[in-house]
Subunit: 240 residues, 2 copies
């Protein structure tokens, strides 16, 4: 059985201008790995309708799931819902269930339900709502695309909600071997073990510490016994 595949789409000028350091990619990557879903690609695009439509269409066609973050708030630069509706050729309008969630929340918090806030109840036809336990305004899932907020606390809560509803595969396991030699000194053995264990993903990540070079070799796969065997082969080959 192979694991489901996924892509992430990060929407926002603030990431591309260097103003904000993205936090959602790192969080989602870890959660998907734990859930047995293989994150294969991430795209970051600006608040530009054509860029969003193009990316959603491509990613939705290429992967089992797409997780998006950003652009679902009440302001003029929040155009994600419009773009998703356009990408799938479906109608977008205020939906009663979403409006009811917002109305209850604003009544409770003493805020006015104005036209801007009502925009957040606009949900593409046929979508299922994603609960927002932080600030009420829901995300939504349409086809294989899960549309979530960019604010990290809201994004994280929505990811937990979405992952509870979709089937994962075998969690990706990993072991790391730290080697205090340069990458170039271990590359040959590493290449041989990678060939012998083609079912695993074996990566080599160099570092420099106190002027000396070293590398972390990371062995990833879904079968713990195979990872163990590859680790033993590596230790034997490197005579550690």
């Amino acid at each position: 059985m192979t694991n489901p595949t996924a892509a992430m789409l990060v929407i926002g000028d603030e990431i591309l201008s260097g103003r904000t350091r993205d936090a959602n990619m790192y969080y989602l990557a870890g959660e998907l790995t734990n859930h047995g879903i293989d994150l294969k690609e991430v795209r970051v695009v600006s608040d530009d309708a054509q860029a969003i439509v193009t990316a959603v269409t491509a990613l939705s066609g290429n992967y089992d799931h797409v997780f998006s973050s950003g652009g679902i708030g009440p302001t003029h630069d929040d155009i994600t819902a419009d773009c998703i509706a356009r990408a799938f050729g479906v109608h977008l309008d205020v939906r009663d269930d979403a409006r009811a969630i917002l109305a209850a929340h604003y009544q409770e918090t003493g805020k006015e339900m104005n036209a801007a806030r009502l925009r957040m109840a606009r949900i593409p036809e046929g979508a299922a709502l994603i609960e927002n336990p932080v600030s009420a305004a829901p995300g939504f899932t349409i086809r294989n695309v899960h549309v979530m907020a960019g604010v990290p606390s809201v994004f994280q809560a929505m990811v937990v909600g979405v992952l509870a509803t979709i089937a994962g595969g075998a969690p990706l396991l990993s072991q790391t071997l730290r080697v205090d030699r340069g990458e170039g000194d271990i590359a040959e053995i590493l290449s041989q073990v990678a060939d012998d264990f083609a079912d695993l993903s074996i990566g080599c990540y160099p570092f420099q510490q106190n002027g000396a070079f070293g590398a972390n070799v990371v062995l990833r796969g879904t079968d713990g016994a195979r990872i163990e065997a590859a680790l033993n082969a590596l230790v034997a080959g490197l005579q550690i």
Copy 2:
């Protein structure tokens, strides 16, 4: 005059598995903004030849510059140079100038120049080398693609070298107005100012602090006087 456009391609399983938190995107985004180059898209792909070739081809065709990070070391999972050569249909082999740089470095540091290390002297035909003042192994520029290392200290040094050789545009300026109201309360005024100042990019980034909602409104553009005027319009509209 419009600014040159750019995309970034991050190559590496370690980012997609959630093992490593990417640091290069945030760094590059800030540097490009300062240099007057508009970063329009980022893609993160795994150490997979087809994925890398597809992404390089698409991004190279769509933007003025492509900056890549990762996959140019000595180990089996470092396949970026091969993929770039394939994407552009050019020959890839050990090149004398790159080999000389490595040979001098390894002689100086007492390391062996073995087959694995020699892989790092493989440069696509027609490429120009990018200096690596940290660990010698060079990056390279071919057509509009700048291929750099993933290790942040090396990546950063290479970016500085590349940016010195390419013409930028007007640096993107920005001003931020912090508003202690919910996004939904300022959206209407904001939308009006965004319409009146269509030459600026105006973004709204909500936050929550001590239980209260607020938003940072960021006005970006290359004309400082226009940003100032929009800021004044915003302050007047919001009666701050």
